[in-house]
């Protein structure tokens, strides 16, 4: 017979640990609370030790990991709060609501800090688009993001979208939100002050999402997954919008001591975390929680994951004013408890005590595991790439056409036009460029936002692949003119109890840490999503990076678009034989093999600072990161975005196939006007980076030696229509 604790996902060892903490057997309510708070999703019990490798500080960092979001100073008395999270499993079960509530959760993390949410980004991964289920998932997820985000009036300004069969049963829906605040407006999720009131604001509590964190997020998937649908919460963006406005008003009027959103593990998490951070105790009157269904038990109320709820702590003499603000916004607000001396989180149900546990035993003193890591035996196998067996293409035009019409490289317009990417009047570079750029009305500066993460590279070499994710994201920021400031991440992996998965995880975090440290981009927040497996098959290890960069003045922003005819096309960086893991191999030969591109962090940094300085000095008029699909695809993207052709003439010892489609890192395609060419060249020399004038813009074709000669209009049609055609 299985014990209740086992059904709730706790191990026997963990159960005994609870008994030791309490000095007795836990009751049903307590058991439910521990099972959620000690789940992988809430406790980071497998990842905690590894994550310590990540650099988290810089002079600009105001708040690093450990709060609801990281906060970074952007000058002029203003700061941005940001974080990325996953909603993978809920989205696999119910794509629309899964994605929608993912947005809801991450947005709450941001305004909880006292910041007004100003942008969302959505990195997505799906299986093969020819599979009807993939099409259903993509449409549902995109509609869910649009339905929720658009309603909130938060622009979705960037994201990325990759397809690979490894995500077939387990798509990745990662969501990032960025908020803007005065540095003085920072609120933390801390309860303090004996006698202060604990107020629950927002939606009534129902049975939706009971056990979401343990059932959905911390277990693998199998055929019975559809039966988990009741664990997915249902989103109500209207209430969330009211919560944003009400909480920001409470912040501005300085009515709060602390603020915490309710996400995974609901009240259990919000109460224990705020009490634990503030080193205080908390008494909760569970019977005062407004319910959607009257017959709910204390156990259910404490773990319900009903959406759009916030927990506020306020001094007794401010309570009436807090309730009044909430009433005016049409929101429920109820005093459900108070801050007390000590360290106990106690719950009462009509006067009877129903739980009594040390708050930090739930929030921060859960089990921590040192999982076994072992390099999988097949790792060497996938590095093997025998070119002699692959047919060398004759017609490069055709390869280029095939690539720009392929699922991972074609235009994403079909997706981002469903998102309101303009509301709030800050978006000065729209989706479709390397990074989105938002003006900061209050300071005249701008921020650049991008996200990245090529799971194929990480699968082939977790250490280098993860380094590339950080480097490429920073490169996207640099191409837009931004100086990379800080990053967040969402680490999507399989089951950490398997040694090869944990090896992937450890190696990837080590790679991210090394790259982040070298490029001076601290990690200020993030999320780990394990158990991304279907019937024992794990996804590619997929760390996704989200980054924020600063642009000193709004005019120093760039897009990828060739701005005019008659400009020099310049390659910063150098092309080498880096065909492993490339889109070329994947699209043309159906292969995910070889070693991913080499990465020299020192060169990477020099190339990026050259690009940023070239833009700042107006030597560079457009810039594009050269990555998936190689130079040929990058050049074509610049041409199409600017609606101007280019003639490229190069002499090289490389095989044309390599020159065109190799995915060597640390490269930018930039345009430089004649009068600035000399200065650009001396800048590149000073920075000691490879620099080549490869051609000139003009005409309505892209011509590369006698290898490629394509008509832009034809290529545009292929690139623009591909995604919609694939999905319908």
């Amino acid at each position: 017979m299985t014990e209740l604790y086992e059904e709730l996902g706790l191990t026997t060892e963990e159960y005994h640990r609870i008994i030791k903490i309490l000095g007795r057997e836990p009751n049903r309510v307590e058991l439910g609370m521990y099972s959620l708070m000690w789940s992988e999703h809430c406790s980071y019990k497998s990842s905690k030790r590894v994550l310590k490798m990540l650099p988290t500080r810089s002079p600009a960092v105001i708040q690093g990991p450990g709060e609801n979001a990281g906060v970074v100073d952007i000058g002029g008395g203003w700061a941005v709060a940001f974080k990325m999270e996953s909603h993978n499993h809920p989205s696999a079960v119910e794509p629309y609501q899964g994605a929608a509530t993912g947005i809801g959760g991450i947005v709450r993390d941001i305004f909880t800090m006292g910041a007004r949410p100003i942008a969302c980004l959505d990195p997505l991964r799906f299986g093969d688009p020819s599979n009807p289920r993939t099409r259903y998932l993509v449409k549902g997820v995109v509609a869910g993001i649009a339905g929720y985000g658009n309603c909130l009036g938060i622009p979705t300004v960037a994201g990325d979208l990759y397809f690979h069969p490894c995500y077939e049963g387990n798509p990745l829906v990662n969501v990032m939100c960025v908020g803007l605040m005065r540095t003085s407006d920072l609120i933390r999720g801390v309860a303090s002050g004996e006698g202060n009131a604990v107020i629950l604001i927002g939606n009534r509590t129902g049975r939706d999402g009971i056990g979401g964190a343990s059932i959905l997020a911390s277990q693998e998937f199998d055929e019975t997954s559809a039966s988990k649908r009741p664990s997915v919460q249902v989103g109500d963006p209207f209430t969330e919008k009211l919560l944003i406005e009400a909480c920001l008003e409470l912040r501005s009027r300085r009515l709060l001591v602390g603020l915490q959103d309710l996400g995974a593990a609901g009240l259990s998490c919000a109460c224990s975390e705020t009490a634990s951070r503030g080193n205080v105790g908390m008494r909760i009157h569970v019977d005062r929680v407004p319910l959607r269904e009257p017959d709910m038990e204390p156990f259910e109320i404490m773990i319900s994951e009903s959406q759009e709820r916030m927990l506020a702590v306020a001094e007794p003499d401010k309570v009436e004013e807090v309730l009044e603000v909430c009433r005016r916004w049409g929101l429920n607000a109820t005093v459900i408890g108070e801050v007390v001396e000590g360290d106990r989180l106690e719950g009462y149900w009509h006067g009877e005590k129903v739980f009594d546990v040390p708050a930090d035993s739930l929030a921060s003193l859960g089990p921590v595991y040192e999982r076994e890591a072992a390099r999988p035996p097949w790792q060497d196998e996938i590095h093997r790439l025998d070119w002699d067996f692959l047919q060398h293409p004759r017609d490069y035009n055709r390869v280029l056409e095939e690539l720009v019409g392929s699922p991972n490289l074609c235009s994403r317009r079909f997706v981002w036009e469903q998102y309101d990417h303009m509301v709030q009047l800050n978006t000065v570079i729209y989706p479709g460029s390397d990074a989105a750029v938002l003006r900061i009305k209050e300071t005249g500066r701008a921020i650049a936002l991008a996200c990245d993460g090529n799971g194929r590279y990480v699968h082939l070499d977790p250490y280098r692949g993860a380094q590339i994710a950080v480097a490429e994201c920073a490169r996207n920021i640099a191409a837009s003119g931004g100086l990379p400031m800080a990053m967040t991440d969402c680490l999507n992996f399989g089951n950490p109890e398997k040694p090869e998965i944990f090896w992937q995880f450890t190696e990837a975090v080590r790679g991210m840490a090394d790259a982040a440290r070298y490029l001076e981009v601290p990690v200020v927040s993030g999320n780990v999503s394990f158990y991304n497996e279907t019937s024992g098959e794990a996804i590619h290890p997929t760390p996704v990076v989200g980054m924020v960069g600063l642009i000193g003045t709004i005019d120093n922003r760039r897009t990828l678009a060739f701005p005019d005819a008659g400009l020099n096309v310049v390659l910063l960086g150098e092309t080498g034989e880096d065909m492993g893991g490339s889109e070329y191999l994947f699209v043309v030969h159906g292969l995910t093999a070889g070693e991913p591109p080499r990465l020299d962090l020192a060169l990477e940094k020099r190339v990026q600072t050259t690009c940023i300085e070239g833009i700042r000095r107006d030597l560079i008029l457009s810039a594009h990161d050269c990555s998936e699909g190689g130079l040929a695809v990058a050049l074509l993207e610049c041409c199409l975005a600017g609606d101007v052709g280019a003639r490229i003439e190069v002499s090289t010892d490389l095989d044309p196939l390599v020159w065109l489609f190799s995915e060597s890192q640390s490269r930018f395609v930039v345009t430089v006007p004649d009068h600035a060419l000399e200065m650009m060249e001396s800048l590149a020399k000073k920075k000691n980076i490879p620099y080549t004038v490869i051609g000139r813009t003009g005409g309505d074709r892209l011509v590369i030696n006698d290898w490629v000669d394509v008509d832009l209009e034809k290529m545009r049609r292929v690139r623009e229509s591909a995604l919609q055609d694939m999905l319908s």
């Binding site: 309603c151 963006p237 998102y419 303009m422 978006t427």
Partner: protein, 230 residues
């Protein structure tokens, strides 16, 4: 000229309209809470975009019952200038201040993009600074902008000059391909019979600053300022 931007629960373009009126036009402006009833201090009311009351029902169907809407009706009946943008347009339709109704976009998806609009009637307070046939590039962002009305009503509206803006291509040709949402006769913006109430799906406030990609929306704001003699 004193503007009032109405804030319904769920409005989300009110700050954008406020910003443009205040910072770009340099005109006095205040927010009007949905429970207010006194609009006596204002010359022009703006019903902004968003999802009033969540719009889980038909867009604008609940907002029209807001206390402020009685005052808006009185304001309009007295000849006051009222402009409804996107959700604001939908609310004006639901409130009966403008004729016709909205259906979901034919694509059944939300669409956010720049579109081209042809000015069909320049003799209104909203388009006086434009020329007939002028093409404006202004973004749309909606899921329910497929304007519809009976054929007879449409004919009458056309005859009276109530059709103010139509979706067109960059050259000003009104074509099926340039219709983003399936609207009857490519209609993007209409007036009431008195021309003091104007509803449009595109967002002129999003096309009022160079760095946002277009300043074609300014012609609407400047027209209304000119009409009021501000």
């Amino acid at each position: 000229m004193r503007f009032g931007v109405i804030v319904f629960p769920g409005s989300n373009c009110e700050m954008d309209c406020y910003h443009v009126i205040d910072k770009v036009l340099g005109q006095p402006v205040r927010y009007v809470w949905h429970q207010e009833r006194d609009l006596g201090d204002l010359d022009c009311l703006v019903l902004p975009g968003g999802f009033s009351y969540g719009d889980y029902l038909r867009c604008g169907a609940i907002a029209r019952f807001s206390p402020v809407m009685e005052a808006v009706k009185d304001f309009a009946a007295g000849g006051g200038l009222v402009i409804g943008i996107c959700n604001g347009f939908q609310i004006l339709l639901e409130a009966g201040l403008l004729p016709g109704a909205m259906l979901r976009n034919t694509s059944l998806s939300f669409i956010c993009r720049f579109v081209h609009l042809r000015v069909e009637n320049e003799r209104t307070p909203w388009t006086g600074r434009a020329e007939r046939g002028q093409v404006l590039r202004i973004p749309i962002a909606h899921g329910e902008g497929n304007y519809t009305a009976g054929e007879e009503l449409l004919d009458e509206m056309e005859r009276r000059g109530q059709v103010i803006l139509r979706y067109c291509d960059p050259r000003g040709e009104v074509t099926p391909a340039s219709n983003p949402n399936g609207s009857a006769r490519n209609i993007a913006g209409i007036c009431n019979e008195g021309f003091n109430v104007f509803g449009l799906m595109p967002h002129p406030e999003r096309a009022s600053e160079e760095m946002l990609g277009s300043i074609d929306g300014l012609v609407i704001w400047e027209s209304v300022l000119a009409a009021a003699g501000a």
